[in-house]
Symmetry: C2
Subunit: 145 residues, 2 copies
DNA sequence: CAATACTTGCAACTAAGTTGCATATAGGGC
DNA sequence: GCCCTATATGCAACTTAGTTGCAAGTATTG
């Protein structure tokens, strides 16, 4: 999807020192079409270099804090991390397979929710909406045939 | 909301032996307007009787398995448990406060998602849709003033 | 080159939930 | 009533995913 230099750029333009590990973490997330669990990111980074899990979690926290990465909940107990929405990357619903736990992105705009509508008749402040579909993914359907 | 006997009835009509602990767990969930975390259910039950955490989790698994209770994800690492949808209890979106973590139910029908629409242009089997709003709850807004 | 700040690693810890196994407790059959 | 089996509960130890404290390494800056 992107050049290495694009990731370095993203880091720098968010005032994050682009260390090799940070670059590798961001790239692992950015190069995958699906949001990944920390363990998957760890495996991806470790295929190229060595990283400690604490460092990984701290880099993830940093990237989430800087708004580069979005922390998603998959309905199980492990977060998934995906690239945050940018000009080229709209908000979209996600799908989680209840058999294998994989998370996939669905097309944006399949439906849109107007947060302001809720805002008016609510005493709460609403910031995000998260739409998650659950079911069986394509490869699990194939596998059981 | 309900009589004790209603909960016993629910259990029996789902072929679950209505032991005092199961009844207390189901009642704790049913009498609260919000879906509760396991720790909250534990506290509620323990105010009346003694229960071990393993027993609680096993009862929760059983009730979820029998379709009496729904396991919800709040975006943090603890599940919430709420009464499953019945004739009198429609599916509805939830709200989670990102400050205190409380989960609340929103009115059903504020928007409806047609699962079949997704089904047609998807190679996946979709079973549920989960809509979760995130923001600041009323009492946290008051607290900061 | 020393002082300081930032980054990474290691070990130990935490929260939420799970597993294995032992001990109740409840019904059936005789 | 007593034995046998099935189900329910409890206790301890374990697991997973993530966090904290602190030490050591690296970089930057005056």
């Amino acid at each position: 999807m992107n050049e290495r230099s694009d990731y370095i750029n993203m880091l720098e333009s968010n005032a994050v020192d682009p260390t090799p590990l940070r670059e590798a973490v961001l790239m692992s997330i950015g190069e995958d079409s699906r949001p990944l669990a920390a363990a998957e990111i760890m495996a991806a980074v470790r295929s190229r270099m060595s990283i400690n899990k604490v460092t990984l979690y701290r880099i993830l926290d940093l990237l989430v804090g800087k708004g580069l990465v979005k922390r998603l909940s998959a309905g199980d107990r492990a977060y998934r991390y995906g690239m945050a929405k940018t000009r080229h990357h709209q908000a979209h619903p996600h799908f989680v397979c209840s058999r294998c736990g994989v998370m996939e992105c669905l097309e944006p705009g399949l439906f849109c929710i107007d947060i302001r509508k809720f805002q008016t008749n609510s005493k709460r402040i609403i910031k995000y909406v998260d739409v998650r579909f659950e079911g069986i993914c394509e490869s699990c359907i194939k596998a059981q045939k």
